[in-house]
């Protein structure tokens, strides 16, 4: 990846991390909304790492596969989180 893309990725990652921290500060104990937001933020961070740090931007098939894995994983995580509410 070119240096420009890398720097942009770094800025993005730090911004997303800050957002997570800020969000945790604002809503320390709010259940579902908080957790879903945090999971989505971590999914976005993972996407940036995969695309730019690991260079999958140039391998769209694989990026698609990994994204599907991420979505599935975070979806399952959210489901498992919500499980006690359903019981």
């Amino acid at each position: 990846m070119s240096n420009t893309i890398l720097t942009r990725a770094l800025v993005l990652l730090i911004a997303l991390s800050m957002a997570t921290t800020a969000f945790a500060g604002v809503l320390p104990d709010a259940g579902e909304v908080f957790v879903l937001t945090v999971l989505v933020l971590s999914g976005l961070k993972s996407f940036v790492i995969l695309s730019d740090y690991l260079g999958l931007r140039q391998a769209p098939t694989f990026r698609g596969g990994f994204t599907a894995f991420l979505v599935g994983f975070l979806g399952l995580a959210a489901l498992l989180y919500a499980l006690p509410f359903a019981m």
Binding site: M1, L6, T7, L10, F34, L54, A77
Partner: protein, 182 residues
């Protein structure tokens, strides 16, 4: 694999390192889902234990690690024009990696002072297993980088950096689930 053109050709870096990345993601993914599954049976107990974690340290470590990943990626890019620049970037990546471990050490020591260990509760079993296994990957990454300082080729550097990004990626998924979800 070599005598055919395939979709594998577009994959950056060596295929073997991707085999490794996928296996690691499977391991950590299964571990994190098992953690959430256990949590579902005892949300209150898990929340109480989670309150003992140091969120600030965890959040800081996220930033430390993504910055380190940046340095590692820059080291790969620098290799083609300057060996010196490559080594500097790599040293920076290692420096951040060490910071990560120091913070981790501090967290563990804090727990130990309160008498918390790996057999204290289900929550802490998972906490130590997952963060400990991850921290050992950071140590492994540092050793790989030390070797690359001396024996770096473009392909080796690419592989080492990819390993490091995987460690990064795992942390980004691990941190919110263990430290924040409650």
């Amino acid at each position: 694999m070599t005598d055919q053109t395939s979709v594998l050709d577009e994959l950056p870096g060596d295929l073997m390192i991707w085999v490794l990345i996928v296996s690691e993601l499977l391991v950590f993914g299964a571990g994190l889902l098992a953690f959430l599954g256990m949590r579902a049976m005892d949300p209150a107990g898990f929340a109480a234990d989670q309150a003992a974690l140091n969120r600030v340290a965890g959040a800081a470590n996220t930033i430390v690690l993504v910055t380190s990943g940046y340095c590692a990626a820059r080291a790969v890019n620098a290799f083609d024009h300057s060996l010196r620049a490559m080594r500097l970037w790599l040293a920076a990546a290692m420096g951040f990696g060490i910071v990560f471990l120091v913070v981790k050490w501090y967290e563990y020591a804090e727990k130990a002072r309160h008498g918390i260990g790996i057999e204290t509760s289900d929550f802490f079993t998972f906490y130590y297993l997952l963060t400990g296994f991850h921290a050992l990957h950071v140590v492994a990454g540092l050793i790989i980088f030390a070797l690359l300082m001396r024996w770096g080729t473009h392909r080796n550097l690419e592989a080492g950096a990819a390993f490091w990004h995987m460690v990064d990626l795992v942390w980004v998924l691990l941190f919110p689930i263990i430290y924040l979800v409650h």
